[in-house]
């Protein structure tokens, strides 16, 4: 394989996190609830004991819950914290919010996606009709003091009248986001650094384009000729990516379309552990802190579990998987 073009960007998860994620950083993680969360990178953040992160997200599930549970997060701007049927509300997230351990501001999925889009376009704000007359606009979670800090908008929202039609027509303005780091897990990266995402892209592309630094972990690295033969399928150009981490099963236990389904066994195990503080710390000791490398984690998950969730090459998931 000729990956000399990206040799400066190719690195281990440990190196990528060490180099680019500082205490207090504002980060956006890719994926959505139980799909394509960059879990290998999330585990590494927890392992390196990064603290005071400011998470900006639409609907992060497993990745958000592990980061919150491991004590890495100080503030969150989000639309949703849930994990489908495994956790209608993310369990460690819920505990932390109810205890007042993290500062939180609520937006909606569309609003957060638009905020990333605005950041990616280099515009300071973006209008929408979504959220008029709701408490998303009225209740704030950050104090005026917190609003003076870097990368935090001075106002949560701003309501104006549409200046173009000369009549009463309220519109919501949302502040743009430009996180320090976007982390995402994808199926393919080319030897030239081109990123290809399969299935749904969620807001991963907007998140990556809005961020100062982009870390991409991937299932496979493909030959340059291959990824450039069908460029309609590609998602991000090489020059927007700062670090590339080859990490097969890097989204486990969340799903990765065409590669594997979500791991029901592991998500059920997590759900049980997360309910109790002591069990949860045992879970982290066993699956995160007690594991030095991603390969070791995969060995713990075990071949038979990985075989169960192997995706059908046509359908992209594991048909007939027992999901109870």
């Amino acid at each position: 394989m000729d990956d000399t073009e990206i040799k400066d960007k190719l690195m281990s998860p440990a190196e990528a996190v060490k180099r680019f994620i500082k205490n207090g950083a504002q980060i956006a993680i890719g994926g959505f609830t139980i799909n394509r969360n960059p879990m290998g990178l999330v585990y590494e953040i927890a392992r390196q004991g990064i603290r005071d992160l400011h998470l900006v997200c639409h609907s992060n599930g497993q990745g958000l819950d592990v980061l919150v549970g491991a004590g890495c997060v100080r503030r969150i701007e989000l639309a949703y914290a849930g994990n489908g049927r495994f956790a209608p509300t993310c369990i460690r997230f819920r505990k932390a919010v109810e205890k007042g351990e993290i500062l939180l501001e609520d937006y909606s999925n569309y609003q957060m996606s638009l905020r990333f889009l605005a950041g990616s376009l280099g515009i300071p704000f973006i209008p929408t009709k979504s959220g008029l007359e709701t408490d998303l606009l009225k209740r704030t979670g950050f104090s005026p003091e917190v609003r003076k800090e870097r990368k935090i908008a001075k106002e949560k929202f701003f309501k104006i009248q549409n200046p173009f039609n000369g009549k009463e027509d309220p519109v919501v303005l949302l502040p743009a986001l430009n996180p320090d780091v976007a982390l995402l897990h994808t199926q393919y990266v080319g030897e030239d650094g081109t990123v290809r995402m399969k299935g749904l892209t969620f807001a991963d592309i907007e998140q990556a384009k809005s961020a100062e630094v982009v870390i991409v972990s991937c299932e496979e690295i493909l030959p340059r000729e291959f990824i450039r033969k069908d460029p309609d399928q590609n998602s991000l150009p090489p020059f927007l990516v700062d670090a590339i981490v080859k990490l097969p099963y890097g989204a486990h236990p969340t799903a990765c379309f065409y590669f594997y389904d979500y791991d029901v066994t592991h998500l059920n195990l997590y759900k049980e552990a997360a309910k109790d503080n002591q069990h949860f710390h045992q879970y982290l000791d066993e699956w995160v802190f007690g594991v030095s490398r991603h390969e070791e984690y995969l060995e713990k998950v075990g071949l038979s579990n990985l075989a169960k969730i192997k995706a059908d090459p046509v359908m992209g998931y594991a048909p007939g998987l027992d999901r109870r």
Partner: protein, 257 residues
């Protein structure tokens, strides 16, 4: 029991009642859990020409198996288009489309405004729920929405703890006046019956109660005054509806329980 001797559960009656509200050609936005089931039932039984799509960006998937979340890879197979959130919300709010969203909630008021954020103080809540997700967006922008929830006094409240998603706001024409040019709640489907909203006042009224459910039980479980005078008894699920629901929609009983 339905007329043919088949027993059915509350959840089954709910899913089938919600499905019956859908017309062929509607574009359905499905959330997680019960609302996912309702959209699948509509598509498989009542309105096969309707289109189901997800806020995550999956448009018109085959849905051979029931998705467990809106980001389940099952919403990505056999679609006409796999996209992302911004594209999905351009469908939700598209002026030409009759988009109907199925939404769940922790609390609802008599004008169909919804809370899926928290109970208690916002910054230090007694109970924290997942948050809006796409619910506020669908409630703001879709052609209409149908709420799917359990009927309990603490959920049907006079005043919400937090207004996550806009319904008819304060009733009358307050929604249009606030700048939301279309949309609003069309119906509320619970384990006891189906509620709709008065054309003028936009207040919730009981439209149907399920067989075996008394009006007293419904008012006991509703935390505000509700007009019960227009209600009729709902038709129990048919054998065909039950068999498709059990054998094709949720054979592992992931949401039916």
């Amino acid at each position: 029991m339905n007329g043919y001797g088949l027993r059915y559960s509350d959840r089954e009656m709910m899913a089938i009642s919600a499905g019956r509200l859908i017309k062929n050609g509607d574009i359905l936005f499905a959330g997680t859990g019960g609302s996912m089931l309702a959209a699948m039932v509509a598509k498989r039984i009542h309105a096969p020409k309707s289109i189901v799509f997800f806020e995550t960006g999956g448009i018109d998937p085959l849905l051979i198996e029931l998705p467990m979340a809106v980001a389940d890879p099952r919403v990505m197979y056999g679609t006409c288009l796999n996209s992302g959130l911004i594209e999905a919300f351009s469908v939700v709010g598209h002026r030409k489309l009759h988009t109907i969203a199925f939404l769940g909630a922790a609390q609802i008021d008599k004008f169909g405004n919804l809370n899926s954020t928290c109970i208690g103080d916002y910054t230090r809540p007694k109970i924290r729920f997942p948050g809006s997700g796409g619910a506020c967006d669908a409630a703001s922008l879709a052609y209409g929405f149908i709420v799917f929830m359990q009927h309990e006094k603490k959920k049907f409240v006079e005043k919400l703890n937090y207004r996550t998603s806009p319904g008819w706001l304060d009733g009358g024409d307050s929604r249009t006046k606030a700048g939301l040019s279309r949309g609003g709640p069309l119906a509320v489907v619970t384990n006891l019956g189906v509620m709709k909203f008065d054309d003028k006042t936009k207040e919730m009224y009981l439209s149907e109660y399920y067989p075996g459910i008394t009006l007293d039980r419904i008012s006991e479980n509703t935390g505000f005054e509700m007009d019960l005078s227009k209600a009729i008894e709902a038709i129990p699920p048919t054998d065909e509806e039950l068999l498709i629901l059990r054998n094709e929609v949720d054979p592992q009983r992931l949401i039916l329980g």
